[in-house]
């Protein structure tokens, strides 16, 4: 299965690089298209592009990590952010964050293997009266208790 996935990836990237005549000058254009296609630029994508346009993959890694527009990590379909500002912190945001990590079996900054959820923490989001604050996608949850985490996740 992974083999098929890889083949598919190679085909798509071959098309993209061809569009740019495999010209290393257009690396940034190629990376934009690739990220548009896959959502992010993991190591495999970088290695395949390196082979196609015949430059070292370390160069590509250098470029991907230089520009803030490019990311090597996939965001989940539902990105979860836990506010770790002072108000939320004193109201137990850390425990809430830990509960999310435990329930999803991922660490802060990671994405679940099925791509459904990703986790991150933020600085004060300006809703201190509702501390601790968690947002999932566009939706905001206030006064989140550790016991509520499971129920919140079951909404998705």
């Amino acid at each position: 299965m992974t083999c098929n996935k890889n083949k598919n990836m190679i085909n798509k990237l071959t098309d993209i690089c061809n569009e740019f005549n495999n010209d290393p000058d257009d690396l940034i254009g190629i990376l934009h298209k690739a990220q548009g296609e896959f959502g992010y630029l993991p190591k495999e994508v970088q290695i395949i592009i390196a082979e196609l346009i015949k430059i070292p993959s370390s160069k590509i890694y250098g470029v991907v990590t230089f520009y803030s527009y490019f990311t090597m990590k996939a965001k989940g379909k539902y990105p979860i952010s836990v506010c770790m500002g002072t108000a939320c912190y004193v109201k137990g945001a850390e425990k809430v964050l830990k509960e999310f990590e435990d329930k999803l079996k991922i660490k802060n900054g990671e994405t679940t293997p099925d791509g459904k959820f990703s986790m991150s923490s933020l600085r004060c989001v300006g809703a201190c009266g509702l501390a601790p604050v968690v947002s999932i996608g566009e939706k905001i949850y206030g006064s989140v208790k550790v016991e509520e985490v499971e129920k919140i996740l079951s909404e998705y």
Binding site: P24, D25, D26, L27, I28, G29, L31, H32, K59, G62, V63, F66, Y67, S68, Y69, F70, G85, T86, A87, C88, V90, K91, C124, C128, G129, A131
Partner: protein
Amino acid sequence: MKKDKQIKLALKNCGSIDPEKIENYIAVDGYKALGTCLGEKGSSEIIDVIKASGLRGRGGGGFPTGEKWEMASKFVADQKYVICNADEGDPGAFMDRSILEGDPHVVLEAMAICGYSIGATEGYIYIRAEYPLAIKRLKMAIDQAKEAGLLGINILGSGFDFDIRLKYGAGAFVCGEETALIASMEGKRGTPVIKPPYPVECGYKGKPTIVNNVETYANIPVIINKGAEWFSSIGTSGSKGTKVFALAGKVKNVGLVEVPMGTTLRELIYDIGGGIINGKKFKAVQSGGPSGGCLTEKHLDTPIDYESLKECGSMMGSGGMIVMDEDDCMVAVAQFYLDFSVEESCGKCVPCREGNHVLYQILNKITHGKGELKDLDKLKAISEVVKSTSLCGLGQTSPNPVLSTLTNFYDEYYDHVVNKKCVSKQCRALVEYKIIEDNCIGCTACKRVCPAEAITGEVKGKHVIDPELCIKCGACIEKCKFNAIIVE
């Protein structure tokens, strides 16, 4: 004397023509200048007109455009390039985006004129990926111009070929710097290199290259059409024409304005901007984004031109203009800009990479109430080092917000470090939340919302905030309907 306040040259078609139709642009003399150049003028003649007009770069540096073109025209090479810098990275500025979205053809026409004058047949627009509408309109405009024979092979039967392609940025402010921009166009990390050689000699792919800003190009066709003398009659002796600003912050009328050079800051803020909102008191105006400085009341009658703004410790910049009132803390403002520069430093040279970081940390210490008097001297000393030893314009200007606020608002810094007070009450660590006994009716709303359980009191009884427990989040103040809570 009151001057006619706004004159629209760069923005002349924005909002008045349909940017998606080339006919509309042609109907307002569009591509007439290109026709004149190809039909009647030699390249040196065009360069002479641009030189005589006094046009200077609108991207920040203010280099005379005609001279730049002349230098590029004199280098002999098998290929030369014309680049439009549409990376517009100054946070809060959107002059270039408005031109590209509202009048894309003007930029294409000007680039073709530039190509003809210096002997280039290829042009590139380096545009931020964050501007999807501008990208769409540019693509449409390029296709339409090619179809109409105004771009491509043998333009208007003159034998001159010129083609324009787009290249995309990827979210790095430093790529607005011309050598970093060229590196980025070549598919590399956008780190600046030492000049000279300047791009006019050795630029994209090692060939002579012109890099000009969007607004600079937007002035070219009108100069050709109306003449250098007409253009140079607008503005001051050293700065000709107009400048577009994105007026923002605490003024009544925010948005894009285009004023003749020489307009004073006061005219811009009060006559055009309508003054300060909510009847508050003006405190400062910041131009030039993270590279510029904060000017005060006493600078309000300064004419807006390259030299005058520089003399007062700010700069023209690309057109960001942020007005601040009594509620803005100048130390926090400096910290905000430093935060930006720390994030955006490419990391190539030590003074910029490390120096800005140290400046940021000291400012952070001050806004958190831990500053000492000697920190102010340190800020100054480090700023001078960063300015004089950094490689590119980013590091050479990033301490400007610190230096200008230190000079113009020294009292505010002094208050922070010695009296531990922030007059504008923006620095959380330096303020105290208090309940005015007489106003409190004991509704308990504040007590219930306080995340730190710092408020005590019985129903219908007077409430008090324990300053030891209070984390100064401000949640209580929003809840109190009786104006009983104050910040000191």
